[in-house]
Subunit: 102 residues, 2 copies
């Protein structure tokens, strides 16, 4: 399996971010070909130090990194990526990788 | 469900990190009470820009954030946390949160 982690830093207007994310962005991201599972953080994103500076984390599951890259390169993936600038006013960090369960 | 993301920045000696992680740290982390599933990245941790600066990502699964906090606060959790300074020479970022599948 592979994972795409999308970490949204705290935006200027959190309520507007949440509304846009669920209403517009998540439906776009759900259309990415090869997406097997889509999880998002619920409530506070914390760190051991307390405030994490992160507002929302999305974990998108794909079969492997090749499928993930193909999904992101597809028109649907490009539409989702292109939508980030419409709401991710605090910035966003993305990481992707294959995984092993140990 | 809840997730603990542990993101290790690129260490000084990657081979020594990998050896220590699998031989010493992972067995310590596996003892954390309430841990339901333990995944680690395999191969390169990438970002859309290319190099991510991240060497390894661990995703630890717990039933909820309360179980996660209890696990981290336990002697086994404290032992795993205390071990980080023995090998995470590039630094480490931790985030934890409850999740919803959407």
């Amino acid at each position: 399996m592979a994972r795409l982690l999308v970490m949204y830093k705290t935006p200027k207007d959190q309520a507007a971010f949440d509304d846009y994310y669920m209403r517009i962005h998540a439906p776009l991201a759900k259309k990415i070909p090869g997406l097997r599972k889509y999880e998002i953080s619920r409530g506070r994103v914390a760190s051991p130090a307390g405030d994490s500076g992160c507002h929302l984390v999305a974990i998108l599951h794909f079969d492997d990194v090749e499928a993930l890259k193909s999904g992101l390169a597809s028109p649907e993936g490009q539409a989702a990526a292109g939508d980030l600038s419409n709401f991710a006013s605090g910035g966003v960090d993305l990481l992707f990788f294959d995984t092993n369960e140990i």
